[in-house]
Symmetry: C2
Subunit: 342 residues, 2 copies
């Protein structure tokens, strides 16, 4: 990406092992993330393009000498940040704060919307999926474990979703819909989805939403209050990242409830005073999802068909059409676009 709206497909040198802890993966599927749309709106023009993409599934092509537990040819999932899986933070399940961790999307690390990728800290980062190859029907759902589904899952975990709780999800993008599916997995019976795009909220219903609220702002807040007997929602999962979504969140949360954010906040300051959070003992939580912590338990759920989060992909493109994938997602013509290297 060279500037807002300016995505180009370029031929660059193949990545190679730089550290003995690296792996090289041949990408089978990658995709465009809702968070990629933030620079698509705001990136200042630059002479050196910014490599894009942080989600992939693929096959190991090469391994550094210190990588253990993986073999060439393994079919693997990459969480959207790399991590050693051994440091104090990783051991607590907070791989996004790994002391040897980092992310893709810089000139140094490259982007994962690419045919090949260098994966640092491969032993800690990559998770092999035995019995799956690049012709599997499960590829879309496995790809969501790289980010989107498990980001929604993180929202629900941090929001302490459980049986008996009313959960409201703000945002009918792929992360919001994933948060609905994850809330259902965690036992929520009542799941209110706030979104205006019928095709998306229909998938939300399929994923477990019991109510859909199309209204926004004060009207949306009023509607959720009505649906919850005037009390508000125990848990609010905020999957957008813009201030109006945050304002909606504290408007509909029940006293003593939790707002869990996974939409990357496009603001620095926000209301947290007496009227918004403090006076009602509302907890604000969430953050960048440590996908790696949830990967191993989610893979069997995809393999046995318990969850089918891959339904969020409603379009597939070849690498040359990636610029149009950004456009289609930005125009809300597509919910989430997969990049097929097969």
């Amino acid at each position: 990406m060279y500037a807002a709206g300016d995505v180009r497909v370029e031929t660059v040198p193949d990545p190679r092992i730089l550290e003995p802890t690296d792996a090289i993966v041949r990408v089978v599927r990658a995709c465009v993330c809702g968070s990629d749309l933030h620079p698509y709106h705001s990136l200042k023009p630059r002479t050196e393009g910014r490599p894009m993409g942080h989600e992939l599934i693929g096959v190991i092509e090469d391994l550094g000498t210190e990588v253990t537990g993986l073999r060439k040819g393994d079919f693997v999932i990459t969480p959207f940040t790399y991590s050693d899986n051994t440091c104090a933070f990783c051991r607590e399940g907070l791989h996004t704060s790994c002391v040897h961790g980092g992310g893709w999307g810089s000139v140094e690390t490259g982007g994962l919307q690419a045919e090949y990728a260098r994966i640092p800290q491969a032993s800690g980062t990559l998770v092999a999926v035995p019995g799956v190859d690049e012709h599997s029907d499960l590829l879309p759902s496995l790809l969501t474990l790289s980010d989107v589904y498990l980001t929604g899952y993180h929202a629900a975990v941090m929001g302490r979703v459980e049986q008996g709780k009313t959960v409201t999800v703000i945002g009918d993008g792929a992360v919001g819909l994933s948060a609905v599916l994850a809330s259902r997995q965690l036992g929520a019976e009542r799941i209110i989805l706030m979104g205006r795009h019928t095709s998306r909220t229909d998938l939300g219903r399929e994923f477990g939403a019991t109510d859909v609220v199309a209204e926004r702002g004060d009207e949306g807040i009023e509607k959720v209050k009505e649906l919850t007997g005037g009390e508000g929602s125990h848990v609010v999962l905020e999957a957008v990242g813009h201030m109006p979504a945050y304002e909606q969140a504290y408007g509909i949360v029940r006293p003593g409830g939790v707002i869990s954010r996974v939409g990357v906040p496009q603001y620095q300051d926000a209301p947290v005073g007496w009227a918004s959070l403090f006076g009602h003992n509302v907890t604000l939580t969430g953050g960048v999802a440590p996908v790696r912590a949830y990967l191993e338990q989610a893979i069997p759920q995809v393999l046995d068909g318990t969850i089918t989060p891959g339904k969020v992909f409603d379009r597939s493109v070849r690498i040359d059409d990636v610029p149009d994938a950004y456009r289609a997602m930005d125009d809300r013509e597509a919910l989430k676009v997969m990049i097929d290297f097969g």
Copy 2:
């Protein structure tokens, strides 16, 4: 209080039963709260004084016809908000959001820095302490259960303080010191107290603080980082309410950690974006303390000497000297002042 800095003692009509659910309490001890200092700094001049005070222990003088479970002559503690103790929020321990609840300090409800007080929702609000009378040595500690100790306790509960956690308390006022004592009760081994007043931090050490950091701002952040091996504090209890304390809180909290606020925030907006909270999965929690929820378990701890939170009182005045009590607390000459009606 008629304006910032203008506290007067006035003779007003005795309160009387207005609702069948009311009680009238003869006040034995009351006190001045750190939060009373906020209007002491900022209250705009008004023609009708604002009744002050929300903490008391005393003896029941009169009861409305619908009050159950209490008798005239009972020695009681009043939490700083009243509540029915039966609604959905009370049943969950969130008495501060009681649907029939409220607080003192308005012309309608009166203030508790007074010889007599009307207590709405008396059955749900007042807790009798059998075997204690107005000559007990335990009065100071029992009085802290009206607000200050259990507000510190709420901070620790919401911050999920437990064994193995490093807790940092910001603020060496009476609530901060109470938060230290509460953290110790909840099993924290490492308790860092940030405060600059040696007489107060000494009491903090007596209450269980293992380290004291006198530095503030970036220097204070650096110091706590050093003490925690560069990682930061699992839990930060913010007992001040001003922006610099909040900034300190997110500066010292460990990734994945919790900031729990009980200092009434004197700001509306605060940093909650990528750099402050989101990127590190930091949880922001806390709020106005539902003291009533914790009262019954704390009373025996005071009666058997497990805790002596009453040590936060370092001065006692008669009612006529209350204006000077405000001044002394504001000048940090006194930590917390008790009003003795005996």
